[in-house]
Amino acid sequence: MSNCHSAPAPRLLALGDSAWTLEFGEAIDPVLNGRVMALAALVDDERRRSPALAGITDLVPTFRSLTVHYDARDADPAALGDALLQLAGSAGASVASGRLWRLPACFDAAFAPDLPVLCERHRTTPAAVIETLCQTEFRVYMIGFMPGFPYMGGLPPSLHTPRLATPRTAVPARSLAVAGEMCAVYPWTSPGGWNLVGRTPIDLFDPAAEPPALLAAGDRVRWFTVDRDIYEKTDAELRRGHLSRTAFLLGETA
């Protein structure tokens, strides 16, 4: 949590007349993302106090930038932009890590249609891929594409895999998938081009829950493997309300 005076200031970019994007860089990089999350935390903390931050409606952290959406009726865009740049100067480079989750994943062949091709590509075995996935601590860089969809970085280079040449028209809900250097879970049945390697019984988005999205940018995720039987039982327990998704939360911050 130290000030990082050597880091260059972010670029302040207008995203139309109702948002500012503070861009820290152009790459997927945990250090850049750390600066994004630090500024997001600081702006969120200050917005209740500072009149210059009035009118902010949404704070959207991404891999490499923080976008601050505002209501143009309640904000002075120029003053808000200045205030955000000023905060960026004092935001530091990192925040305490987000919550740590330990989430079940079933790698049953029926849930992992792309695992054989992935193994072939990387000259390895399903067991070795599953072991690697379960030993990795993934970092949620951002939520996007669809509600609750987590872009999780940290996939070891030995498993980096391009997207499918032809995306599927319907990826089953809660599919665990990898693409490039990322891992993700599809919250709903939807079109998608990532490689499907497993499935989790946990809902990534529930409008009735608070917060509705299971994961947030900055969270960390570890997978543990469950067999098909345990998957089905966990799924049933969750749906009956006998099991809360927070049961899989290991810690608030670390």
């Binding site: 995203l15 007349d17 991404t62 959406h69 988005f205």
Partner: protein, 348 residues
């Protein structure tokens, strides 16, 4: 004072919307909301509501609705008209930019939208329970509206009945969106484009394609070249309605209300808020040009649009529709003095 409109026929692709869902974009939830906030504000004003009350957004074939309880005032704005099938058997036409009062059992059968986007508002607004702070329908996540989907036969749309049956109705001239170029703020990735492409974007005429929905609108026209093929992709960052994304094929896509929260294509420019409603009224083949403005000018254009809307509201006139009133009773109840603007009644 509860009442409802029962959906007899959902029509095609009709959704409840309001001003949208704010504060959830960090969770990947789109804002949704009215594609044309000005038309929606007009419909709401004619129905006696604040601008942002939830209304039915009609983009294709309109719904058929039956008043359960009443009286209810409805209003219609856009290129659309509706048939009123009165419980007593009479029929009238409800023209757009007019209100009508429904008694219990009356049916309103909306036609198809000629072009663009139309709104049906009801007195008090539609009042299903908001989800994540809004009644706007967001189909991708099945949130808001009625079960997060377009209207379907059998749905019950809760609303509030009028305290008493009023005989006056309200109307105004159609809202005219600004013409001329669509105003944009440059960037945030204007530097991903060749100098030629930026010149071309500022000068060219683009045509609205058929490929358009609540998420976005594809344009046809001169290809906008990126500085290099590598500049055609970015590491995803946030987007917002109005963003003009240009993928590798060089053809712009304007993002609209249901757009994702992040995207991986460079954005050459972003349409200002005051001009978003215009886009909802475009039909395939319409031509668009773009003009870049700064934030101060965008602010002035927004305020000018708000003033114009305030003047439009002041221009709403009341009148007494012919056809289903006892004129003697009317004169006795002295309702005519309530007229803001004396105009002849419309024909049924």
């Amino acid at each position: 004072m509860n009442a409802s409109l029962e959906v007899i026929d959902g029509g095609l692709g009709n959704t409840l919307q309001d001003r949208g869902r704010h504060g959830y974009r960090h969770l990947g939830v789109a804002t949704s909301g009215f594609l044309d906030p000005q038309f929606a504000a007009c419909a709401n004003a004619l129905a006696g509501n604040p601008d942002d009350a939830a209304a039915i957004e009609i983009r294709g074939i309109g719904p058929t609705l039956k008043a359960i309880g009443g009286p209810l005032r409805i209003a219609l704005c856009g290129e659309i008209e509706a048939q009123l099938l009165r419980h007593g058997g009479s029929r009238q036409t409800l023209a757009p930019w007019h209100s009508a009062t429904l008694a219990a059992g009356d049916i309103v059968k909306c036609g198809a939208v000629g072009a663009g986007t139309a709104y049906l508002a009801v007195s008090g607004g539609f009042t299903p329970t908001p989800q994540l702070g809004s009644r706007s329908t967001y189909q991708r996540a099945n949130i808001g509206g009625i079960a997060g989907r377009p209207l379907a036969a059998g749905d019950s749309l809760p609303c509030t009945r009028l305290a008493a049956h009023e005989y006056r109705e309200f109307r105004n001239d159609p809202w005219r969106h600004a013409d001329g170029p669509v105003h944009v703020i440059a960037g945030p990735q204007a530097d991903h484009f060749a100098y030629d492409a930026l010149q071309r974007f500022a000068a060219a005429v683009y045509t609205v394609s058929r490929d358009s929905d609540r998420m976005g609108m594809r344009l046809a026209g001169p290809v906008l070249q990126h500085r290099s093929p590598a500049h055609a992709d970015i590491v995803s960052d946030a987007v917002t309605p109005g963003c003009i994304q240009v993928p590798g094929n060089g053809l712009p896509i304007i993002l609209l209300a249901d757009c994702q929260t992040v995207g991986g294509y460079p954005k050459i420019a972003t349409v200002i808020g005051a001009d978003l409603g215009r886009l909802a009224q475009c039909r395939p083949g319409d031509e668009l040009r773009f003009a870049s403005v700064d934030l101060a000018t965008a602010g002035a254009l927004r305020r000018a649009e708000e003033d114009r809307l305030a003047r439009w509201r002041q221009g709403i006139g009341s009148y007494l529709p012919a056809g289903y009133l006892d004129e003697t009773a009317l004169y006795q109840s002295n309702l005519i003095s309530g007229a803001v603007r004396a105009e002849p009644p419309i024909r049924d």
